[in-house]
Symmetry: D2
């Protein structure tokens, strides 16, 4: 098996999730390439050293450009804040690296477009975006059911990502500053559910019918002080959309919806059936098959971490020995390595062009909220 | 106990639900007035006769104006289609009757305004609107919890009313004709959840941020033929709104959201707590009390048809001997009779002025959908 | 339509539930006989008078034998404590009346046997026992699915009836005295779930493998005093059983299982499918069809108060406009009136012979608990 | 940090789960000792080699006694079938090794007693048994709540472990042969829930009130042939028990309870509160606090993989970024390493003496089933 040398930028939450997936993936999957954890780049040298030792990275650097310069590295995994994605990803693509970038693709639509264009130019290289929820087994199975025409014409998409850590007592972290974070719940949470909706339906948003962005907590305590500072991002963003195929959709992201903690959910109602996924019980898919009829039909609770040909399940544990959040990343790395080894992924992987479309939807929603009107997607490029 | 003479207009689904409530209410409640089922008015004399015998109406008429003319009748209960509410209600008010009218208040905002104005003029009389879900015990209890400041500042209102009887095989019933029905899911279903949201929060909508109205099935078979005709009402309407107090809200009504059959739900997330009601399991309220803390907090499943001081529960059966849809109407008639007997209702009853406010919200949402823009409520009167 | 004259003994909780059902049944069902609420018998004349006026009984008596003596009365409905069932039912049968008796059939197996024998002799008359839960729509539908061989060979029956009103603060009511109540949770609650298990499976218990009866709270405060008295009944009884067809079963009844309030549930696992019913959400049946396969199978949530040919549902309200506890009694009265009018009931009604078999199971369980051994049903007659 | 050298016997499902936990534990926990994956022993040399390479074992042997002989090895992890536990564990203890043995402790009570005695003698060494479910965060949190007296006097324990892979089409695997497996569902599944019940309550079983063991499928196809052979183990075992403190308990294990796949659940009802854990949704604990009162009380859904001081949660991912089955093993290895490094485990670890008590309960249940009588635990030693 061919080694595949990986460089990572970022050593925080996402750096940790990606490192874990890299360590685990070959233990559970037979793959055409063996990932080698080559170099990790980060800013705090001391912390970086501990991080590298813990996860098994062979080398470290405080200059992320070193990854571009190193000819041995095949793939660069970008796990940094949104506003630096463009610079880093474009540099890596120009250096001939494959790139796997955290979501959302970028902090601005301009950046996202530049990234998409750079990916287009880099014809020999692959790009990937870490929309990890696609590879929860239940969501991957939902995608397969839709491809098998089990849902038929789609009427409704209903997606929410509800968290609750943004209460009035939460201090003014970088996540509440527009300069650093780009946006609040919108880029962080709506990005995921827009991707999930586009991925499942295989369809594109054509219009935003209206949107509202709200900052409930306008001032927050500066960390370590008693002073207050302004929050410059949204706490919640809701919007309504239409898909090309005729479905209507609602999206909602919030950091102030207790007791939901990581309640990422999507429901699709169609002519032949319906689907519902709730991340907090992620091993299960709810499925309604209209052919069950009025007498016997209803939501079926399908345990997707089980035999019965569920995506990824056979690689893990026996039936209903459930898996968790981190396994979405490991499953994704398996597909990334398959693609780089010229094999087929279990389900489609988002690339920069794909993630750019998600970014357009997010941008259109922000315009709709600001200008208090509907927005056609054709006007947002 | 004083008799209270009731006249009813309408002998269909709602006529049946109201008749049942009238027959039942004094069996289960101690009331200041005893309702007497005086006269029922309807168009089909033969059917009307059967209906009256079944439910115990003493007399029938095919001319609803007879109820206005009869000096003995105290209260007229209007259970007819929306487009005749105004004419009937105004006539009854002018004849000095109390009026209890089915929801939504009217087929058009103009009609609704005229009804509100007529109610204002009729100073000695009371008006009521049949927003029956307020009196599901769990919803009434939710109202009490909010009044006791258990939710605090409200961030989110999330309301849906999802049904599924409007599939492509459903023929072109009167409910799909704008002339007869006024609108589709919007007036039928969104009316309920807008009332529920206004009732629970005690707050008013100030702006519609956007809306979408969709007719998925544009042609339907004419009943008893093989011909097709056009559906002229919406199958689904979604809209986003803000409340004066700062909450953001989403509303969705659909007739094409299988396997949901009567899935009327509302969730409210606030600073001190959250609430969730789902009609299909209507005896239960989900409540989150933020003071339970991060370690022990979460949705509590409260059985509201039980002791423990739950509204209306003590009038029915022992703990968790659950009640159903029809009991909302009986509970409402109990409060109507209390109010007419100068007693306090368990929870507030909607009158014409109140229901007119709900109608303004529905109208504003229709304008937002049509004109593809946000709409301030101040502009809709 | 022929009138059918009914006499009732008892004016407490069950007298109320039966009276309500009698008043309601003809409003919702087309029946071969019209019940007439003739005479109610009870001990407290004053209370009885109020009761009769409220529910529409034409006459009252403080001597229940008057019902036997009255030639006009066709059916006597017995809603009294268990220890008087035998005397009353046998007297009524000897007087030529049909009898509908509350469950359990009797306070002792001897009484139950005498009642069964009296019913056998009374060849022209029908007997009925108020196992009301059979006629929750979801349970009736479960019965139909099993008859249609959708479950196949049954492996497991798992039935529980969990309440929580018997905590240490509950005073020494008559329900805690063996002389008055016969037993505690066993006769009150296990009776229901044994009937449900026998009814659904259509099979009979052959052996009790073991049982335990427990009085957790041995002394309780005498009502209205500060003195303590002994509780002489069980707070909980659990037992294991086999059915003739090979299924193994567990039964559990408790008054000390908070937060369950009326959690009457039964689950059946078979070779071709499984079923689960939970009373607190009684409009819903969970059904697993093994033919859905490993990939797509799982519990289906079927709303049984809906179209689609669900038993009794069409008599009530539209799809998923849910019904409650009291409707089981009304549905049962509909079937009683059908049978007395020589029509077929929707599902089988339990008669004295049938209820005697349930009583044998309860008795065998008590012997097993007392003698600390397995008990074959053949030894209990 | 001191290295701790580990030897493993077994390379199947459990060998895989333990190897994964060993690889992962130091990545997520700060521990007083660093485990070194020294040698793995197994029977099939070729498979063993692949296994060792995959998981990072430095050496392999087909003679498990080599682990005893190797002075460098500190801890031997036994992941073999039950009938060889005693021989292997005793040899390792005699060789001075710490031992972590898979559950149940042994195939027979005699073996289990010998293991307990050997552990007693080996005063310098620690023993552990892999009752992994104790360390699902929700179960560990349940243990803490009980220790904090939040449940009070316990009335009921209700435990089930329901699977469904043992249908008539499943061939005659070794798991259906008594010689190899000892028992069927009883030793495999009831072992877990008896441990969970004893662990949570901190109490011991004093009597088995009755039991039933059933082999539903008496003959199964021999793998790779069309011939049939006899199944010599139980498919399901149910039993009733009392605890010293007065609680009554029911236990049920089945391999024929579709659609349950790995439905390991336990519920405890006490005077002050109740708890419920269901493995298939293992990140959540249901908790009822009686002090919430009749008006506001009910099951609370507590997400235990979150902040708020939930056991083990802080070592993994952010709030409600759920974990899975495998994490129970990793959490357990963390506590094993803490204990071997003279630190306190998060919650108590089962040793051989503890697991022997679970074995006595299982044995008493088998006697009760066979002899059709109640069995006091004092008679089973």
């Amino acid at each position: 098996m061919k080694p595949l040398y990986v460089g990572l930028i970022g050593q925080k939450f996402m750096g940790r999730a990606h490192s874990n997936a890299l360590r685990q993936v070959s233990r559970f999957f037979e793959l055409p390439a063996e990932p080698v954890m080559h170099t990790v780049a980060g800013r705090d040298a001391e912390e970086l050293d501990r991080f590298a030792r813990n996860w098994g990275w062979k080398a470290t650097t405080t200059n992320w450009r070193d990854l571009a310069a190193n000819p041995q590295i095949d793939l660069v995994d970008i796990a940094t804040p949104n506003h630096v994605h463009a610079e880093q990803a474009i540099a890596m693509l120009e250096a001939g690296k494959h790139v796997a970038c955290e979501k959302p693709l970028a902090g601005t639509l301009d950046d996202a477009r530049r990234m998409r264009d750079a990916a287009r130019k880099a014809k020999k290289q692959k790009t990937f975006v870490w929309y990890n929820y696609r590879r929860c087994p239940a969501l991957a199975f939902a995608w397969k059911l839709i491809r098998e025409k089990r849902i038929g014409r789609i009427y409704h998409v209903r997606a929410q990502y509800l968290q609750s850590w943004g209460g009035p007592d939460t201090p003014l972290l970088w996540r509440f500053k527009k300069g650093d974070a780009g946006s609040g719940a919108h880029g962080d949470l709506n990005a995921h559910i827009v991707d999930m909706a586009r991925f499942l339906t295989g369809d594109e948003v054509t219009e935003i019918h209206g949107a509202v962005s709200r900052t409930f907590i306008k001032e927050r305590t500066l960390p370590g002080t008693k002073k207050k500072g302004k929050s410059t991002v949204d706490d919640a963003v809701l919007f309504l959309a239409s898909f090309k195929g005729g479905a209507v959709a609602s999206f909602e992201a919030s950091r102030l919806a207790a007791p939901h903690q990581n309640a990422n959910s999507i429901e699709i109602n169609g002519e032949k059936g319906s689907l519902r996924f709730e991340f907090e019980n992620m091993n299960v898919l709810s499925f309604h098959d209209a052919s069950d009829g009025a007498r016997e039909g209803g939501w079926r609770r399908i345990m997707c971490t089980s035999a019965g040909n569920h995506p990824y399940a056979a690689n893990w544990w026996p039936d209903a020995h459930v898996i968790g959040y981190e396994h979405g990343f490991t499953n994704m790395y398996a597909d990334v390595l398959r693609v780089l080894g010229r094999k087929k992924p279990e389900i489609p992987l988002p690339d920069f062009a794909d993630a750019y479309e998600t970014q357009r939807v997010l941008e259109a929603a922000m315009i709709a909220a600001k200008e208090r009107r509907a927005v056609k997607l054709t006007s947002v490029r």
